[in-house]
């Protein structure tokens, strides 16, 4: 299955990302050992010049990761036509044991990349590179994660064995039916709705609080709530929003809503949700450094803007979800 254009593109993106990060790693080690902003040595000057290259390169690599996540899910959904019994992305991801780990790795990389980009952004605004050691230290932490992501993706795509024999007997032998594990998260609709709206309300309030008032406590609170809200949002999608979209009381799939049959409604929800969560986490990632001298003036405006973005994203997500529920013909709760 490797000769699938989108698969080649994804592997190429992941491979180049790993290569670029690996190329940056020796430099990162050098920076962590020898960086001295007060020195005027030739080496220090070279370092300062090189940081421009590597921070541009890494912004590019991480920016690509954000696009790759979208392409990965889109492609998994499209490939479902190739596998016996697969109806959407879940089927494709279940073809072998690496599908869901690859997706989760991609999501984790997405959020880590967003946090790194936020820190990088703050660092490049300051005059004295205050976060340069932390930045490159984090890069060394991210490198194995990206490598793991690439390896999982490669294993997943290599293991995609489609039973493409035009006759049925070939496929009948392959009938080891996989059940959708996510069907299990069937929470009763009313508690799920309470949890969902409470979660969204709290995270939005935290976002607005940090946006308007600033402060480190609210920043940390926003990041923590963003992480929780992301999980709550996914539970909400699984337990009741998807049911309303499909107008079917037992179909819980979080991927089918991405399909054209349902007017791509999933993208309307997931895009704001992912952006909001990334912004919320990014705002939190900046807080540990808000106290340092040169960043005292720089970090608050950035993190407040990120908080505003997060609040807006969650509001948008909740509005779309609510609209899909209200516009649906399904009656899940009797009045």
């Amino acid at each position: 299955m490797l000769f699938q254009p989108a698969i080649i593109a994804l592997l190429m993106a992941a491979g180049i990302a790993v290569l670029m990060l690996a190329a940056a790693a020796p430099f990162a080690v050098q920076v962590m050992r020898h960086w001295d902003i007060h020195s005027g040595s030739e080496q220090q000057l070279a370092f300062e010049r090189r940081t421009y290259l590597f921070s541009t390169m890494l912004s590019f690599v991480f920016g690509i990761q954000l696009a790759a996540l979208l392409l990965f899910v889109f492609n998994a959904d499209r490939l479902s036509g190739m596998f016996v019994g697969a109806m959407c992305a879940v089927g494709t991801l279940n073809v072998n044991d690496f599908g869901f780990p690859a997706l989760i790795a991609q999501i984790v990389i997405f959020f880590l990349a967003a946090m790194w980009l936020a820190i990088n952004h703050a660092d490049t605004r300051a005059r004295d590179y205050p976060l340069v050691r932390i930045k490159y230290g984090l890069l060394l932490v991210l490198l194995p994660v990206l490598m793991l992501g690439f390896w999982l993706e490669l294993q997943f795509f290599l293991g995609l064995k489609a039973n493409v024999i035009t006759s049925c007997c070939g496929s009948l032998f392959s009938g080891d039916a996989k059940t959708i594990a996510s069907e299990a998260s069937g929470m009763a609709p009313i508690p799920a709705m309470v949890l969902f709206y409470a979660g969204m309300l709290f995270v939005t309030l935290a976002g607005i609080w940090h946006w308007k008032r600033g402060g480190r406590a609210s920043g940390y609170a926003l990041a923590a709530l963003s992480a929780v809200a992301f999980v709550i949002a996914i539970i909400g999608v699984l337990s009741f929003i998807s049911l309303y979209i499909y107008e079917h009381p037992h179909h819980h799939c979080p991927f089918c809503i991405l399909k054209p049959e349902y007017d791509y409604q999933g993208y309307w929800m997931y895009l704001p949700l992912f952006l909001a969560t990334a912004a919320g986490l990014g705002a939190g990632a900046l807080q540990p450094f808000a106290g340092s001298a040169s960043l005292r003036q720089i970090i608050p405006p950035i993190s407040e803007r990120l908080a505003g973005l997060a609040a807006g994203g969650y509001i948008l997500f909740t509005l779309f979800a609510t609209y899909f529920v209200l516009a649906s013909n399904l009656i899940l709760i009797e009045h």
Binding site: L2, F3, Q4, P5, A6, I8, A9, L10, M12, A13, I16, M20, R49, Y52, L53, T56, M57, F60, I64, A67, L70, L71, F74, N75, R78, G81, M82, V84, G85, T124, A162, V164, I165, T166, S167, C168, C169, S171, L172, G175, R305
Partner: protein
């Protein structure tokens, strides 16, 4: 936020002016870039159109076709086979089909003969596919004779030519009555070529097939979805192979982009030096160069995509046709339905803009760290 936007706007403004100052160099790059996008986009648009054509064509075919196998080879359905199938829940209709191939020495091509019920085709007359009619110069009410495999000559009157809309399916098709079919091929009475079953619920198709192969171990059920899947993967595979072949072109282009971005003229170097002397930071220069790359990329992408669209849907994808379409003596004429797919565009973007940007990163940085004093001296 407004300050930021304003800054980017001015940067774009400046970048456009500086691009315009070096017209030939940038136009050359744009041309090559557009050409690359156009070639890759033609490929994806064309395979996508073929894929949707296959899906469209197969939509009308029966869900399950049952063939009987003898020693692993396709054999005739003997009398009494229908009773063995019995009633299977979910099957709406089952009918025995009669069809076969006939080699015509005139065109040196195989025709498909298929029997239809008497109310559609009368004895002694045939309906022919549009490609075949064109090649043999047939019109309604003409008479044509074929020498059967037993050596006897049969004459048929052409009742009508099948609609060109169905040409993809009926290029080499001849429809005739069941009696004529059996007489022409000396087909044993009561035997059929295969059995077509209609299943209403797509989720049931696999169960029906399982029951069929259980009831008739010597049979082979062919599912429509399997056929469709095979087509999809054939086209994917062909597209992937072409892309791999073209990877060399992408690579060459990346080298070209690197060269173009690295080979700064003395004038450009001086320009960057002056910019830095009047207060631009390294970051600003990188940002300007990034805008330059982005503007070139997006223009080339859009132009290439439009060119590919015209190439595929108006000019019939002359460049890729032989590789991707497949061939036959009686090849049907068909117009591709214009279809553009989001995934394809996204993939294409990854294949072109991503390598370009990756290739120009280092040269851009090299240009941006130029010291003002070293170039202005």
């Amino acid at each position: 936020m407004n300050v930021w936007l304003e800054k980017q706007r001015h940067l774009i403004d400046f970048t456009l002016a500086s691009l315009a100052r070096r017209k030939t160099k940038n136009l050359g790059l744009l041309l090559v870039y557009t050409l690359l996008v156009a070639v890759l986009a033609s490929l994806t648009l064309f395979t996508n159109a073929l894929r949707s054509e296959a899906a469209y064509v197969l939509a009308g075919s029966p869900e399950v076709i049952l063939q009987r196998m003898v020693a692993g080879r396709h054999d005739l359905i003997p009398p009494g086979y229908f009773d063995k199938i019995g009633r299977i829940r979910g099957v709406q209709k089952k009918e025995g089909r009669l069809w076969g191939y006939y080699y015509d020495p005139v065109l040196k091509a195989n025709y498909t003969f298929m029997a239809r019920p008497a109310e559609e085709v009368a004895d002694g007359s045939i309906m022919v596919g549009a490609t075949l009619a064109r090649e043999r110069g047939l019109a309604p009410h003409n008479t044509i004779s074929f020498r059967s495999y037993s050596g006897k000559l049969f004459a048929f009157e052409v009742a009508s030519v099948l609609s060109p809309d169905s040409e993809l399916l009926s290029a080499d098709l001849i429809l005739l009555s069941e009696n004529d079919f059996r007489a022409f091929f000396e087909y044993p009475a009561g035997h059929y070529t295969d059995i077509a079953l209609s299943v209403a619920n797509p989720q049931e198709v696999r169960n029906v097939a399982a029951k069929l192969s259980e009831a008739l171990p010597d049979s082979r059920p062919i599912l429509r979805e399997e056929v469709l899947r095979t087509y999809q993967s054939i086209f994917d595979w062909r597209e992937g192979i072409m892309l791999t072949v073209l990877a060399g072109a992408i690579f060459a282009f990346s080298i070209l982009a690197w060269e173009k971005a690295a080979g700064l003229s003395a004038e450009e170097k001086r320009e960057i030096g002056i910019l830095k002397a009047i207060g631009w930071e390294t970051g600003d220069v990188i940002r300007m160069k990034m805008w330059e790359g982005l503007l070139i990329s997006l223009s080339a992408f859009l132009l290439g995509l439009v060119a590919a669209y015209i190439h595929v849907f108006y000019l019939g994808a002359a460049v890729f046709e032989p590789v991707l379409k497949g061939w036959a003596v009686l090849y049907p004429r068909f117009a591709l339905i214009p279809a553009v797919d989001g995934l394809q565009i996204a993939t294409l973007f990854f294949f072109t803009v991503f390598p370009y940007t990756a290739a120009v990163l280092v040269p851009i940085w090299r240009a941006a760290i130029t010291d003002p004093d070293s170039v202005m001296r």
